[in-house]
Amino acid sequence: MSQSSRIAARFASLRAEGRGALIPFLEAFDPDRATAMEILRGFPGAGADLIEIGCPFTDPMADGPTIQRAGQRGLKAGATLAGTLHMVREFRAGDAATPIILMGYYNPILSYGDNFCADAAAAGVDGLIIVDVPPEEADEIEPQARAAGLDIIRLIAPTTDEARLPKVLAATSGFVYYVSITGITGTRSASGAELADAIPRIRKHTNLPIAIGFGVRTPEQAAEAARIADGAVVASALIDVLAGDLDAEGRAKPGTAQKVLDQVAALAAAVRKAKKGA
């Protein structure tokens, strides 16, 4: 297991508070570097407990139209992995505590080269979610991640059965990301009953914190997910707020970042009210 202390420390302190984590998402360089940086810097103040940053890729096979378009805007604005790490480094200059997880696809990482994990850790990244590297291919990246002290956060899906769960969990550190639907991001939501059924099934196999993502959109859904599990990832709903505020040319307006942060604040308020075990 990695020594990535920021993720473990954050979940431990939230456990002490008796509540789950809000994990908002932003796509790097969407719609431009400055706006994305303003959102990233504003996340902790708006109530983000952990932060997930999407790394744009031309062919995001697990993402729905909302994140696909965010990635395209990011690429158009010049997003690269090096540029994304630079954003994290800039963020870290003002925030040493909020964990940052990068989510992306393998090919840009492969293309970056063997130094990726070391460079990411040095920039202040705490964990990686690499959508298209399942446990069967873990040796592609795990040794480098481990050496750099980065957590490899794995996705568990509704299709991950009892026989497979231990194999996936054995390759996971930091926290577990439960994909609450069989589907791509931002398309539909799981019911509270489905989640209440799924999360204990995973808990039987691990002591790691569990965050729920894919289809968590509203403050109510975030509160419920954070209560049933240990955290809620909200992505497409925030990108919808951002995209809805862009001008006809796809450019941010002066208040765009603030609109996203206001929505994060609303989500955070709901998550903070939802005490666990209540």
Binding site: T58, G64, T80, N107, S111, P134, L155, I156, V168
Partner: protein, 405 residues
């Protein structure tokens, strides 16, 4: 005494689905359990004589196999070199080689209890083949097709609809085969419990590259016997077009261990491999991971995938099957390319001289044959895979030649 294992190139992939460093299973966790299930089901099916006999029955009586091996005598005389044979998979039901693997896969889907089929298509040949098999097996079928390809392959779009399939135009990216495959994978993630993804080429996550190759190998197995019957010996050179590479793998695979048989895979050079508009992933790309496998990809320095270009919608893909990537590295197969213009010339020449209107995909293979046959002695033997017929392409070709229809 233990004998050393025979030195064979036909033992791949390994248990991880790798051909050398290529291949693998790079998919999201949601799909992973199903990928493993497909692998298990296929391993069982291919050892089940009843399954294989039923597939062969369909190939004989529904597809019309074996396809003939045709000595292209007039073309041979004109080019003045090696004897040129066409393996005539364009005569198959649905007009291309795609149906060979589709029937096997749809039978497998039935066996797995799947009730819905999805597929991606570029030129529409795989979509038509899948829609056809789904009509025969009474399964609902959805075909993802880039909006650009929907436009340039209208006859096949209409064919699929007649066969009862739903055709979904995909508008993301350049709206061609790569984007159709993304959308197919997204649909599969969302409908993983009841849906089978019938992949059209020797790419994607393991076991698809192996499985599609195994089914398509019927082409090479037949060609081998037919050439032995016709000439009493093996061919000297095999030539096939490469998009994802299924028709080429099908022809090459049964000959891989025959050291005397050279093989040329012909990639689409579009407007030229020195321009930015081509689809020559082995010639100009480098290894990466896309659509479930590690292989050669057209990509920029940051690992973002580039758009491919070819006049042939079936070759318009920025990757290639992982077994080809391996055969390229170990130099068992030589990968060359032919431009849009060369393919167009070959298309016309073949139509006039052999009375066979080829698809634009094998027209690329023929363009290479036109280059290489005259450099070979008259007693040398070439088999070119005529993997599809050109009916679907006449509008594209007319436009390229400035003819209004």
């Amino acid at each position: 005494m233990n004998k050393p294992l025979p030195n064979s190139l036909r033992q791949g992939p390994d248990a991880r689905g790798r051909f050398g460093p290529y291949g693998g299973r790079f998919v999201a966790e949601t799909l992973m359990p199903l990928i493993l299930e497909v692998e298990k089901a296929y391993e069982e099916a291919k050892r089940d004589p009843a399954f294989m006999n039923e597939w062969r029955r369909l190939l004989t009586h529904y597809v019309g196999r074996p396809s003939p091996l045709w000595f292209a005598e007039r073309l041979t005389q004109k080019l003045g070199g090696a004897k040129i044979y066409f393996k005539r998979d364009e005569l198959n039901h649905t007009g291309a080689h795609k149906i060979n693997a589709v029937l096997g896969q749809i039978m497998l889907a039935k066996r797995m209890g799947k009730t819905r089929i999805i597929a991606e298509t570029g030129a529409g040949q795989h979509g038509v083949a899948t829609a056809t098999a789904c009509a025969l097996f009474d399964l609902p079928c959805t075909v993802f097709m880039g909006a650009t390809d929907v436009e340039r392959q209208q006859p096949n779009v209409f064919r699929m609809k007649l066969l009862g399939a739903e055709v979904v135009p995909v508008t993301s990216g350049a709206a061609t085969l790569k984007d159709a495959m993304n959308e197919g994978l997204r649909d599969w993630v969302a409908n993983v419990r009841d849906t089978y993804y019938c992949i059209g080429t020797v790419a994607g996550p393991h076991p698809f590259p192996m499985m599609v190759r195994d089914f398509q190998s019927v082409i090479g197995t037949e060609a081998r016997e037919q050439m032995l019957a016709a000439e009493g010996r093996l061919p000297d050179l095999l030539v096939a077009a490469i998009g994802g590479g299924s028709n080429a793998m099908g022809l090459f695979y049964p000959f891989l261990d025959d050291a005397s048989v050279a093989m040329h895979g012909v990639e689409a050079a579009g407007k030229g491999v020195d321009t930015e508009e081509h689809a020559a992933s082995l010639t100009k790309g480098r290894p990466g991971v896309l659509h479930g496998n590690r292989t050669y990809l057209l990509q920029d320095e940051f690992g973002q995938i580039l758009e491919a270009h070819s006049i042939s919608a079936g070759l318009d893909y920025p990757g290639v099957g992982p077994e080809h990537a391996w055969l390229h590295d170990i130099k068992r197969v030589e990968y060359v390319s032919a431009t849009d213009d060369e393919a167009l010339s070959a298309f016309q020449l073949c139509s006039k001289m052999e009375g066979i209107i080829p698809a634009l995909e094998p027209a690329h293979a023929l363009a290479h044959v036109i280059k290489v046959a005259p450099t070979m002695a008259r007693d040398k033997l070439i088999i070119m895979n005529m993997c599809g017929r050109g009916d679907k392409d006449i509008f594209t070709v007319a436009r390229a030649l400035g003819v209004s229809m």
